[in-house]
């Protein structure tokens, strides 16, 4: 059977090269076209030596493909995707451009007016564990942000079941690759190594995604989510420590059962029996979730770990593609984490 022809718009960022790495090993698709602005005209192998097995030249425009991924920054991504959508090409967008349903959120959080508001209603927020059916019918999937992926998978069972009050804190610790490949002083090696810092204390762009999806989980639920991201000195991984005030006392054993049931059969979410570590997910599409109760205060603590480049970006995008195209959901994503 012929392989599906896929392309990556903006292969030169970290999400883009991770897509290339994973698509190269996918049994059902062929990567036939990759684009990039500054590097257009160069061989992929020259710019990214670890991708040397992929014999492609970086182009300025995407070739004809059956399926496209966009790893463009926000705003530019929508512009690049709209012609494809109009031509009927199925797309997974890794940017934020189709994640938020409320049109007004774009000028507020991303400083641009959305060019096609009506598409926001048909685009599907692609967190497979919460929206698998809708993804399977979607033409355009908005791949979740890296922080929301970990946070939502940690929070969803408590919220869905009605056990969470609205008092929720998500304290996330991310590797530096989450900040992208653009050069900044805070991601300069000598500044970022041996260092931890918090940022976006006034509100991070991933907050509205988290709130939107939590509200969708349970009609009428209006949580007050305090989300604080931190950068820690490693390249990959996000550990989110989620603190939930339960509506009533929660038994740890029952909590674990609830989470176990909620994620039963999921190929990429594992409810683990000991606190997980980001390193356990390095290079893999897994999300490890550990629900717990502080024995003195009764606060529910749920910890989740993902690789921000995989389940937090490129891996989840491929998982979404697999669902959209009717492939086995884990196709191309079976590799175990690289450890240590």
């Amino acid at each position: 059977m012929a392989r599906i022809r896929t392309g990556i718009i903006n292969v030169t960022g970290y999400a883009g090269i991770e897509l290339a790495r994973l698509l190269h090993g996918h049994p059902k698709v062929e990567l036939v076209s990759v684009t990039g602005r500054s590097a257009a005209g160069q061989k992929l192998a020259k710019v990214f030596p670890h991708l040397a097995d992929i014999d492609l030249t970086i182009e300025s425009e995407l070739a004809e493909v059956d399926f496209a991924f966009s790893a463009m920054p926000h705003k530019a991504s929508a512009e690049a995707i709209l012609p494809l959508v109009d031509r009927g090409v199925k797309v997974v967008d890794i940017s934020a451009d189709f994640r938020l349903k409320d049109t007004r959120a774009y000028p507020q959080w991303y400083d641009f007016d959305h060019p096609r508001p009506q598409l926001l209603q048909t685009a599907v927020y692609g967190l497979p564990e919460l929206s698998r059916d809708r993804i399977s019918k979607a033409k355009l999937v908005a791949n979740p942000g890296c922080y929301p992926t970990g946070a939502l998978l940690a929070l969803a069972p408590m919220v869905k079941e009605g056990l969470a009050s609205g008092d929720i804190i998500v304290d996330s610790k991310s590797g530096v690759s989450g900040a992208g490949r653009s050069l900044t002083i805070s991601t300069h090696f000598a500044e970022a190594v041996d260092n931890v810092r918090a940022y976006s204390l006034e509100g991070h762009r991933h907050l509205p995604e988290i709130v939107q999806e939590l509200e969708l989980l349970r009609p009428g639920f209006k949580p007050a989510v305090t989300f604080l991201p931190h950068i820690v000195p490693m390249s990959r991984g996000i550990l989110s420590s989620c603190y939930i005030q339960p509506v009533a006392g929660v038994d740890k054993k029952k909590l674990r059962e609830l989470y176990g049931d909620f994620y039963k059969g999921e190929p990429f979410v594992r409810v683990v029996e000991a606190p997980p570590e980001t390193k356990h997910t390095w290079g893999s599409n897994l999300c490890l979730v550990y629900p717990s109760v502080e024995p003195r205060t009764g606060k529910v603590i749920v910890i989740s770990c993902i690789d921000n480049m995989v389940k937090g970006a490129a891996g989840q995008a491929i998982q979404n593609m697999n669902i959209m195209l009717g492939f086995s959901e884990a196709a191309g994503l079976e590799a175990l984490a690289v450890y240590p």
Copy 2:
């Protein structure tokens, strides 16, 4: 004027070698004796090449000194200190053995019965910013834990002023040196690098210290503190993100004024204007504090950064000694952070 003769019990752990480093540069004291069990009989320079300027042999018993620091593990520290205290030697104990006022806390949290419960009432918990006067008169000072130091300095103004409800979460990110110099698989380089993990989800030993001192700050205050420590891949530093539900709406500007006033004139606490980073404190005795309010939820977020080896251990011990001996509080602790 003759220098004060000081000694370090158990120089061979990280707190011990940091004490040696800092005391070597102290203008008023002379380090005359250091002990260590396994390394007894060896030159300090041989075991710790970076201390080669200190010409001492590691002994099994402390020589006669005017002032002693204990960097022994808990339980063993009390045993080593009691004879000194009985002889009238002033002591700063870096272990937990004299931090907790409630005798019952020792079997509960540290698995031993306290050998001299009455001393718990006269020993002073040595957080200078909260207890300077009592430290100045103390014979025995219990040096705070590394996590409590950062957490208490972040929380104290809110609590003291009566602005904090009891709903408090402390999410701390520590460098690996906090786990000490004893070998464990989780501090093995290949396991700890590129990794973040949470631990002690059932309750960390530093929790009762935090609660005890918060309660002392305001009569009748009974906080429900959820404290979760994490290990991040760097050797030094603790960043604590403290989430406080205020009793009423808090204005960010007034909050900053409150913190500014509270720490006015403090040599080692600085209320900073941008979110601090642990690297800003590397090797120094500073605690950087950043108070803030989440604009949507109204949750107060206070971030503090310290070097766990300095303000979180050896530096604070010397600060306490300076107060106990009437020296300038910053003597020997003026060096700026080593950056980057």
Copy 3:
């Protein structure tokens, strides 16, 4: 077609878990048995959460298998392997126990007398690029050491072609995982991070391997190899900088052609056009080689990069198995490097 039943002796070290990771994704084999001493009786998933997809219990004795890998330490490895060899099971030994042809080398370098010296002559040193034919007929393959793998692939073309004088220096920089999973103070995170050190200045155990194989490459060649390993603060990777005094002036272009021809068609050696970085090989079985000439001194400098856990251990072991069993040499080893 039925999969080949494979087993790993001592899965609990880093080479062992890396074998498990890679064998799990191998299309032609099934991992059916893993052993380990201290962890015997426990589920693999519990001890190594990243291997949770492999449903095996760690055993004290290997089950019946068609093919075995030994990841035991030296001496113990020979003891574990001999019964298997005697039963006709094909084996790849990752330890040094069958690498050296000279029986006397074992007491000299490894402190034990070899239990079966005659096997040293039939065991094949498993560097496929140099000994593919003999590997294909071998029953017992001695997997090369991590340092020799990188050094030999860098040096072989120069030596084989008779261009190298005997004056050779190999300066290698290794990640910390090369020191294994056993706990030592020098691999304690706080000691190893932010640090570089040289070790084994009196002679490293991998030296005799390097010399033996270089001598075999060219009859009569008796090199004086100075080999100095260093540890740098990362978990994986070896970069070897090899300095060769050529017998006559060497032209850089011809040197590159020589290397290109030598490794033409090799699935896992790539002669690259820019100085390689260890990160380009992270998690993959590639060896990147960059030959060069210092323009003032005429010294030939060849740089090689490998992932010490893959091409330097488990990956090369599987490459050897593939050759021994007539599989495609790259089977199970096609994954691209995980970057960044």
Copy 4:
């Protein structure tokens, strides 16, 4: 006695901020002026929070000072320094602009024609251990490069004594801060972490310095130095592994005596008894030197470790100032290394 008024031209690079850190603790001088182009007009504390104790505003022009340090890049440094030199202000230049005696070296290695060639003859190359007397009489000292400092201190005794043939290899491993504070993709955290790479294989700018100073050590000596620098994932430190072909067999014990005698009484060079580690020098002005002989090949291996920011830049600059101004050579540089 009034303190000497000092200034730093270009405080905003890593050498500049390290000068500020160290000068702040110097007992004999006062830092009164710091300049920087992009940050001019801002408080030093705002741009560099760890320097908050220094109450200075970054200026565009240096104020009147008694002594100046230039931490400008090459070419711009000479331009900034010449007016000061003409006014009789003593200067230490951290750039390369006055290191090389051969005028032709500047267009060749640094792409500019030297603006004042005659000054090259009176400027003194400021490696105190080799040129203390000349430094003490100098008006303008050229601070050595970071790599040459470690390499020359490792090589000098062998060369001076006539024991070294010209066949010398210097293989250096540097932390990333050596590449400066300017943003580049190779110093982006996610690219530099978990990575080792070699660079400047065609010749590094520090090579002519090394050769020039070696030649000056022994009349008629014309070494063929192969110098290869590497970047390893840590912020500070350089370990240089120097391989010297001796003119005749060298006894290790006598070699150690030679080095011990050569550096006897030196405040900042220590001939150590075990292979040194860069971490032993973190934040300090020490150079640790370990001479050794490979027992099989007879090659002399000398390893040196420095903190590239201190002995490799700002600390050595202050050491030079101390000598030029008749202060104790160690003034302001006595702090022990920060470990771990």
